[in-house]
Symmetry: C2
Subunit: 214 residues, 2 copies
């Protein structure tokens, strides 16, 4: 698996999503041409991307949807189940906790933690919000590798460092700051404000183009 | 501004965020070397990126933080104010509505809409949730170009098409599906499940490496 460009890796979840939809619609096989039309990328890109992992396609037959779905799932590590905890039971933490799509992919919410005593005891889909002080004990008893971080910016770096000490291996970071952690800790950032700025850049470009046309 | 790679554009919001932090800490100027250490990218990348927009730096002086912050802000279209509506007042829609960081960047929430009559009248930061039927009338009275979409997958394509008919120019799409819209409509996707899959891929790689070391 080494030496595959991060751009290809970034595209795999999208393949996985499309294959999932095809499976739901009982599609058994698909050509790279048909898949390319659906996904709005070139058929040659699809073939190139999937060749990185040994192909899966057969000349004249196309791809077996279920097989390709499962293989990409394995590559993405989706053939395992993971426990996930959420740190921060504010609005975003609650929204994530309520998102059942994650479970379909093998990510099971096992705990929600907050510093705010007023939130303690509140239940989200049957899971009680716990005080952050219980975190170390909880992780000892319930092996968990992934923590979603939805805290205020000022508290995030310290909490991230603590999570790593407690054995967390991957942080899904919703806090608008970069975490500086050891190299073997996975950090996946979801920077919402940056996404909105990117939208704003493109909106500005479109508006300027429309202006020029007038 | 044409011909700038999308990778550079994607990096600009991060520069903007760091410059904002420097401003908050009353830093007046910074060298590309200092900035590179903070941001964990090479100084030459920083110089290259910023040269795309005419430089802003002066030999021996470095960058004027406030000037650079404002210039990047202009490039990103953040010198204007935008009204934003949210379609879908579920957990994620509510979380977005409560996110005050957006306003700091010039994105003002002006309306929240849902199909569920039970949510109608609920207020989030003073803004009432309205029935989706009022959308067309609302947009006529309150010019708004950006809509955040937090709906179930099945309802999203139709709603997106409707939003475009009503004059929306940019969709911030949180629905795990690709929207097929006219070319001059900006779509910025936040695919949370795909982000989690990417985390999973990296977690698997780290775990395999740790296994090999043993």
């Amino acid at each position: 698996m080494k030496g595959i460009s991060s751009a290809v890796i970034r595209r795999l979840p999208r393949y996985y999503r499309y294959l999932d939809e095809l499976l739901e619609n009982d599609v058994v096989r698909i050509s790279s041409k048909e898949l390319s039309e659906k996904m709005n990328v070139t058929a040659s890109q699809i073939r190139q991307d999937l060749n990185n992992f040994g192909g899966f396609g057969q000349q004249g037959y196309g791809y077996n949807v279920e097989y390709l779905y499962k293989e990409i799932g394995k590559i993405l590590g989706l053939d395992k189940k993971y426990n996930l905890i959420i740190i921060g039971a504010g609005n975003l933490g609650q929204a994530l906790a309520n998102y059942t799509d994650f479970e379909r992919r093998g990510f099971y919410l096992s705990g929600i933690f907050d510093v705010n005593p007023r939130l303690i005891g509140m239940k989200i889909r049957g899971i009680e919000v716990r005080l952050i002080d219980e975190l170390e004990e909880f992780i000892k008893k319930n092996p968990v590798y992934i923590a979603a971080l939805t805290l205020p910016k000022t508290k995030a770096p310290q909490m991230a460092a603590q999570l790593v000490r407690f054995g967390i291996q991957a942080i899904w970071n919703f806090v608008p700051t970069d975490l500086h952690l050891p190299k073997d800790i996975v950090v996946e950032n979801v920077h919402l404000v940056e996404s909105l700025m990117h939208l704003s850049y493109n909106l500005k470009a479109v508006q300027e183009e429309n202006q020029e046309k007038k």
